[in-house]
């Protein structure tokens, strides 16, 4: 058994205070092991993004703790990099790709030669080795998200957090980016925690799927995915195990989104 | 403190109240020619502007401003629609428009005084010609920014060209037109005041300058306060009108009401 590098204990988050507060996450505990690829899925509006923001240290939880390598996370830790859904707003338009990828490294005062090399490797590994001088707005959405991934990789994190990273691109690009992620995941040997609302994507990518309930969320089920690797968009998705897992997750989430949420809210109000 | 509505109100009112109080206190015992006690300025305001000079100076000023600004608005929007819809016309007129826009509006005064005369017509002309350019240029930009899909939709429903301009182009360009009208408002107010500072016999600008020339500094400050007040009120009226007219736009932009 590998050791857990990320440990989430009894995490809860409510927005606002007093009688007006609205709970987003009721209770969530989760451990992620080194090298694991974990996907979090749940019905829309269930607080997936809130959870990820708490884990990344951008948002303080109301209760509970997040620990990375046994250190409590109170601000974004050095060993963690984040990829946002909205690449067009997360990349800086006044910097070219090289500038965007090296920006966090410059802030960390990595020497120039070293950060140029890291950026070159990172852009290379996402297939943008020749485009460092281009600006984000000159590129397609898929290429912009590749840049955001390269920026995260050049930061050399132990764990990559991704918030619906492929939700804003078309279906074909999405499949390409999923394979790109699997590729860099195995090459760089990093740990990935990815939030998605797409069940196929979760089953296709994950070692393990964490299903959240409707808001206020609790961890409803943990589902190991034993599909063989390397995975393939056609072969893997054609396997009966894939279909079975997918149906299972789908049924579970559908039951969740049909659950009357008034009962839970009633207690709070 | 920033969360509570009352706290917000207090915070917003603190600086203006403090500034006026500071003015009142520091000027109270002032014997300086430049800095008369605020109390004297307000007394003078009461004597001269309530309401003796309202009819003789304030209303003529506002009348010239109103006509000039209305002309600028009508001509600016009309010509802007034409130039925005006809690219060749826009290109042909571009050097003249660019030059006129770059010409500092106060220098329209000598032309108006010499050619038209230093009378109401001349001053209205300066206010109108000086403030028309922001309206014109913003209308052109607004018209050019109308989505082609909206025009195609209108054509597919059989709207005539005139209807398309009235029902599609004008509303779609209206946010930009409003921006232009707002800039034009400040320029028109400036021109209203300074056009009365040369060869005039009435008006706000005339009154403050003659108070200064006769070393009636309290009266001068009273005039300055009146001009400031006029500026604030005219801007406030503009904002109210804009809110009414542009309610749909704020909603569509998610700005809230």
């Amino acid at each position: 058994m590998a050791a857990a590098i990320l440990q989430i204990d009894n995490l809860a988050k409510a927005y606002g205070t007093g009688p007006d507060s609205s709970p987003a996450i009721a209770e969530c505990s989760l451990a992620v092991e080194r090298g694991e690829l974990v996907c979090i899925v749940g019905p829309s509006g269930c607080g997936k993004t809130t959870l990820l923001r708490c884990v990344s240290g951008l948002l303080a939880p109301t209760h509970g703790t997040v620990r990375l390598f046994d250190e409590p996370v109170v601000r974004p830790p050095r060993a963690m990099a984040l990829v946002f859904q909205d690449y067009s707003r997360s990349l800086l338009p006044w910097l070219d790709l090289h500038g965007n990828v090296t920006m966090p490294l410059r802030a960390r005062r990595v020497p120039r030669a070293e950060r140029d090399e890291l950026a070159r490797q990172a852009l290379e590994s996402v297939g943008l080795g020749a485009d460092g001088h281009k600006y984000p707005w000159q590129l397609s959405g898929g290429m912009q998200q590749r840049t955001a991934i390269a920026r995260a990789l050049a930061y050399q994190p132990e764990i990559l957090l991704m918030d619906e990273p492929f939700a804003s691109v078309d279906a074909q690009t999405r499949a390409d980016l999923e394979d790109l992620l699997l590729d860099v995941w195995s090459t760089f040997g990093i740990t990935v925690l990815l939030v998605t609302h797409d069940i196929d994507e979760a089953v296709y990518l994950a070692d393990r799927i964490v299903m959240l309930s409707a808001s206020p969320s609790v961890v409803k089920e943990m589902l190991p995915v034993d599909l063989p690797r390397p995975r393939d968009q056609i072969d893997t998705k054609a396997r009966p195990e894939f279909t079975a897992l997918r149906s299972h997750v789908f049924a579970s989430i559908k039951a969740e989104s049909q659950r009357p949420s008034g009962g839970v809210r009633g207690n709070g109000g | 403190m920033t969360g509570h509505p009352l706290g917000r109100l207090v915070l917003q009112a603190v600086v203006p109240i403090a500034l006026v109080a500071l003015w009142w206190i520091t000027s109270a015992n002032s014997t300086s020619l430049y800095y008369p006690p605020l109390r004297e300025a307000l007394e003078s305001l009461n004597e001269q502007w309530l309401f003796e000079q309202v009819g003789s100076d304030l209303l003529p000023s506002l009348g010239r401003f109103g006509i000039g600004y209305a002309l600028a608005g009508l001509v600016g929007v009309g010509a802007g629609l034409a130039l925005g819809l006809a690219p060749w016309l826009r290109r042909a007129t571009s050097p003249v428009v660019e030059f006129q826009r770059a010409l500092p509006p106060p220098l329209l005064l000598p032309f108006a005084f010499v050619v038209i005369g230093a009378d109401n017509t001349g001053r209205v002309f300066v206010i109108a010609l000086g403030s028309v350019w922001p309206v014109l240029l913003n209308t052109i930009d607004g018209v050019r920014g109308v989505h082609p899909e909206a025009l195609e939709m209108a054509r597919s429903f059989g709207l005539s060209p005139g209807q398309r301009v009235w029902r599609i182009v004008l509303p779609a360009a209206s946010p930009r037109i409003m921006v232009g009208l707002r800039t034009a408002l400040s320029i028109a107010i400036i021109l209203m005041v300074i056009s009365e500072m040369r060869a005039a016999s009435n008006g706000l600008g005339f009154r403050v300058l003659s108070a200064q020339r006769s070393f009636d500094t309290a009266g001068m400050f009273a005039g300055i306060i009146v001009i400031g007040f006029v500026g604030v009120v005219l801007n406030g009226l503009f904002v109210l009108a804009e809110r009414r007219i542009m309610g749909w736009y704020r909603g569509a932009q998610g700005i809230g009401v």
């Binding site: 990099a81 984040l82 006044w94 920006m103 966090p104 | 915070l11 400036i190």
Partner: protein, 261 residues
Amino acid sequence: MRVRVRDLAGRAALPACGLAVVLGAFELASRTNVLPRSSFPPVSDIFAELLRIAGTDEYRTALFQTVRGWAVAMGIAILMAVPLGLLIGATKVGYLLARVTVDFLRPIPSVALIPLLVLIYGTRPALKITLAVFGAVFPLLFQAMYGVRDVDPIAKDTARSFGLNGLQRLRWVVLPSCLPFVITGVRIASSIAVILVVTGEYIVGVEGLGRSVFLAQSGADYDQMYAYVVTAGLLGLVLNSVLQAGERRILFWHASQRNGG
């Protein structure tokens, strides 16, 4: 190559024709006395006079004084308003404290101060500079305030997630994001500053193009009066295009500059 030359000629033809028609119309109107020739001389006379005076010291001094007044006023206004605006916009308390004051002071016409400034400065250049600073400060302040408030929260979160500290976020994210707003403010402030500098010259008599216009007007030397007016217009054109070129260079990455050019 030939195609490009023809293209360029084609693009310039229409504006050139338009300009020729307008200048010709004014020339004709004056020569036929439709516009009274005594008060509006033919355009050709105005340009001849402009060429004649362009070499004189008075002309150069007047032009220089106007440009200097504009530049000094803009410098002071930017140094005052931009840091203050960024500071106000960056804090919620600052924003609330300043909003009503700024909203109230902004519409006060700066020209209302002319009589007071005459008392204090007479016809010294400080008069037109103060006037222009007062007019230029508010658009800059306003734009800087809104620029800071408009910084994309996702861009800020991104910087935070990569461990940038407050100063680094200011340097790498906040300032560049505000730049389009500030530059718009500079453009608005510049045209207001030109208006007020020339007002100080024409109305009060501070040295510069505006005073030269007034002197020529008082002497009924209308050729010269219009020659100075045209100079002021050309100066405005030059300032506009310099600012535009600067904007294009600095904001090449911004949506407003990307398409169409």
